[in-house]
């Protein structure tokens, strides 16, 4: 097991799409116009979405990756 970083988006998301356009790994999508969702396979936890999010509702969390 090793620790990896991933973006986590709170349910206060307004689906503005700022994070989608800024993500260099295309790891974020807008789910049915309701909220942004992170593809954990693609996310590397770089934090660009966190700094760009106008609502400041994205956190970069450490989690364990199963080998």
């Amino acid at each position: 097991m090793k620790n990896i970083k991933k973006a986590v988006i709170s349910n206060q998301c307004v689906a503005c799409g700022t994070c989608v356009s800024i993500c260099p790994f295309n790891a974020i999508n807008i789910f049915k116009g309701i909220r942004a969702v992170v593809d954990v396979e693609l996310c590397v936890g770089c934090g660009k979405c966190k700094s760009a999010c106008p609502g400041s509702i994205i956190e970069i969390q450490e989690m364990e990756e199963s080998q």
């Binding site: 307004v14 309701i34 700094s51 106008p54 609502g55 400041s56």
Partner: protein, 201 residues
Amino acid sequence: MKRWNNYLWIFSLTYLLLGFVNILFAWLGLICFITPLLISVFGGGKAYCNNYCGRGQLFQLLGKKLRLSRNRDIPNFLRTKWFRYGFLTFFMIMFMNMLFATYLVFEGTNGLQEVITLLWTFKVPWQWANSTTISPWITQFAFGFYSVMLTSTILGIITMVLFKPRSWCIYCPMGTMTQGICKLKEIRKDESDGRESKTSS
């Protein structure tokens, strides 16, 4: 790679400038009202906010590229549902009020008021941008609609400077409305799926 829709901020900026030339150009702003609603109603989600909102792009450009934004977190209350839906309600009431003012001019009860009302309070004389060759109610609507557009731009610029570039997107009434439509559609879909699974079982 940049695509054509990455330059829609030019449309938003031109729109704001055209209001100083001829107020009737304000009618073009209806595109920014009707398009996002149609997209969300017909299943496109928030594609307008995500890809085609020139105003959001303009704030991003001013705040990030020109570094006009302080890049601070927005206050918690601005992202609550209460504030967002409350602001949408207030915005719609003021919009209806503007439509009623247009109706009164159409009916002949009131004369044309050549003013732009900023932040729903401050009346700014705007005679230079008037067109007198057209029905007064058409011009009145243009004044009212341009007031709405200019007011929301001012609010967006204030929050862009104080907080993050696209902070306006958090409480933008159109964004709240289109997200609400998407949520309602999803709830209705879930309900109909539930009914179908009950009848089939």
